[in-house]
């Protein structure tokens, strides 16, 4: 790592780290909500992110709608897709399970089902939007000049939007009764059923909320990075990685993990080039030696 780094570069790397870190945080929060609520590891999550970006393109670039409106619509659209995917796939799958179905059995089948879903979504997106890269003209093309450094406004907007969404999410999960229900279900679904609440619709809500977050993440990032058919594949790896590092079931861990990975990748790519991904992956494995549950997650025993 170069020790003689200009402060300008340093700030740029930090901003970059925060940018991608905040996107990872949104993605992992979405995945975690689904995982904790329904115990399903949704491999299609990355594809929902890609779909969010494409739909953002549709609304903002093609239909020329207002930026904020497009973003909201992308989130809602993906929430809908998420709800439908639960209704169409996982709800039916749940029927197959009996009381004596083991945890590993359920996990495997639902994960595989989500892989099937991912394949369908991926190819479907490809067929609808074609294989070339798409680009969105950023509504925030300005570059800020702070002393020596040049920071693109787009990145700051991304960070700002992500933080805003996180705050809204926090308020929803911890201050509303709906949020309390969602959290209760992840803790003890049986107890919630006993209270007379139909967990079925809570699961749908988990999927809608989680998928909506992925869609928002995709929509937010769309003006900054190009939209490619493989963006879903790429992001799902890092999303899983952050989930693992931060610890499953800890929101604070997710934020810590997202920021950590963002920092590592941002600085890593600058100084290590293409080897960065590998180094980061290996670092994560090392972390797991000392903290089996992830940084802040439920320890594995």
């Amino acid at each position: 790592m170069a020790k003689n780094m200009s402060p300008g570069l340093f700030i740029q790397l930090i901003v970059n780290a925060l940018t991608i870190g905040s996107i990872y945080i949104l993605m992992v929060l979405g995945l975690d909500i689904i995982l904790r609520g329904t115990k399903i590891l949704n491999f299609a999550h990355g594809q929902l992110y890609a779909l969010g970006a494409y739909i953002m393109f549709l609304f903002f670039q093609t239909l020329k709608l207002d930026f904020t409106l497009s973003l909201i619509l992308s989130g809602v659209a993906l929430a809908l897709v998420g709800a439908l995917s639960y209704l169409g796939v996982f709800a039916i799958l749940n029927r197959r399970f009996t009381v004596s179905s083991t945890f590993s059995y359920r996990l495997l089948l639902s994960a595989m089902a989500s892989v099937g879903l991912m394949m369908i979504l991926q190819q479907g997106t490809l067929l609808c939007f074609g294989t070339q890269e798409l680009g969105i003209l950023s509504p925030f093309p300005q570059i800020l000049e702070v002393g020596d450094t040049r920071i693109s406004l787009s990145r700051l907007v991304i960070i700002f939007l992500s933080v805003a969404i996180c705050i809204i999410l926090y308020l929803m999960m911890y201050r509303t009764s709906f949020g309390k229900l969602l959290r209760a279900v992840s803790y003890d679904p049986e107890a919630v059923t006993l209270q007379g609440v139909n967990t079925f619709w809570i699961f749908v809500a988990c999927f809608a909320l989680g998928s909506g977050l992925a869609g928002l993440a995709g929509g937010i990032i769309a003006p900054l990075f190009s939209i490619t058919p493989s963006m879903g594949q790429n992001i799902i790896f890092i999303t899983f990685l952050v989930l693992l590092v931060g610890g499953i079931g800890s929101y604070r861990g997710t934020i810590a993990g997202g920021l950590l990975i963002g920092l590592l990748l941002s600085f890593g790519f600058q100084f290590l080039g293409s080897a960065a991904e590998l180094i980061v992956f290996m670092l994560v494995i090392v972390i797991l030696i000392f903290r089996p549950g992830g940084l802040l997650g439920e320890a594995a025993e």
Binding site: N94, V99, L107, I120, F281, I285
Partner: protein
């Protein structure tokens, strides 16, 4: 295979043995009846797939879901290649060395991985598979993204010089049968029973004195070493390897073999799944564009409606379709899921 049922009559056991012998003879005679090299190639790939699928089932038998089969498959392939091409060993010497090396590697990484419960284990093995691929791609002496070409054939044994696909077929068949024997011995011993106990109820297994961690680690090491065995073969069969051949998709396909064949059948399931997944797509030459969608749809259909896989569905044919429509109608009308599950 299922654990021996205490109520099996002699007649059933006799039929089983007759069936096994018939299948064995068929497998041995098969390549002599086939002209096409391409089909022989598919057979060989199916055998490799079967071995990999069985390693998945081995871990699954103790409750671990792994996406890391591809990782050790790659380790085996690359290790053997390096030992033969750089260290000048013969294939037959490189093979056991590769297995030992992989076992040690699996022990080291497994000790860390197995500490992580369910979902974390899936993710960590997936990440590990990526790590292996990236490491192979980054390392110049492993050929980078271009991989290694011109890997020599296995050294001749007697008159067999591995110029013909048939020779390779018998080698992989021998490996497959060895794996089947070993795994069957494991499953029918108290090791296999301990795995099953851990899978069905880790809590109860603990109170019976079964060390969950140690048994799972054992499964991980055995499974990984087996995958490396297949990798060794693959390197010297296809004679060139690239990191891309071992990517994340491979691990998912391995899982698919097991699920398609039938999760409860630890040996036959992956075998049947591998055969189906290797041959059927070749005969359904669908438009390339639609292929992932078709695969995805098939995957969903199997999981949603035939979760027992091929063998499972044959064993327990599903209730009449009336049931399905009734529940569908139920859901549409009342909006409520018929309870009784999770």
């Amino acid at each position: 295979m299922k654990l021996p049922n205490s109520l099996k009559t002699d007649r059933v056991t006799r039929y089983k043995w007759i069936a096994i012998i018939i299948v064995l003879i068929a497998l041995i005679v098969l390549p002599l009846c086939i002209e096409s090299n391409y089909i022989k190639h598919l057979l060989i790939m199916a055998c490799i797939g079967a071995i990999l699928g069985m390693t998945f089932s081995l871990l699954f038998s103790s409750g671990l879901i792994t996406l890391g089969a591809a990782a050790f498959y790659a380790v085996g392939a690359y290790s053997s290649t390096v030992l033969v091409m750089n260290a000048g060993l013969s294939f037959w010497a490189a093979l056991p060395l590769t297995l030992v090396f992989t076992a040690i590697l699996a022990l080291g990484f497994g000790a860390v991985f197995v500490r992580n419960a369910g979902v974390a284990f899936v993710i960590i093995t997936l990440i590990f598979a990526q790590v292996v691929v990236l490491a192979a791609a980054q390392a110049d002496f492993l050929g980078g993204w271009g991989g290694i070409m011109g890997i020599p054939r296995p050294n001749p044994v007697g008159t067999v010089n591995f110029a013909a696909k048939t020779d390779y077929y018998y080698l992989i068949l021998a490996m497959l049968l060895l794996v089947v024997l070993i795994y069957n011995a494991l499953y029918s011993s108290r090791i296999g029973r301990a795995w099953r106990a851990i899978k069905l109820s880790p809590k109860l297994a603990g109170t019976l004195g079964i060390n969950e961690y140690r048994y799972r680690l054992l499964a991980f090491v055995i499974g990984s070493t087996t995958a490396a065995l297949a990798g060794c073969f693959y390197a010297h069969y296809s004679q060139n390897i690239t990191p891309g051949a071992f990517g994340g998709w491979l691990s998912i396909y391995v899982q698919l073999y097991a699920v398609l064949g039938g999760l409860e059948f630890y040996i036959l399931g992956p075998a049947i799944g591998a055969v189906v997944m290797t041959f059927v797509p070749e005969y359904l030459r669908i438009v390339k564009e639609w292929e992932p969608i078709i695969t995805g749809v098939i995957l969903l259909v199997v999981i949603l409606f035939f979760p027992g896989g091929i063998l499972g569905t044959l064993k327990n044919p599903p209730a009449l379709s009336l049931n399905k429509f009734h529940s569908l109608y139920n859901r549409l009308v009342t909006g409520k899921k018929r309870d009784s599950n999770s």
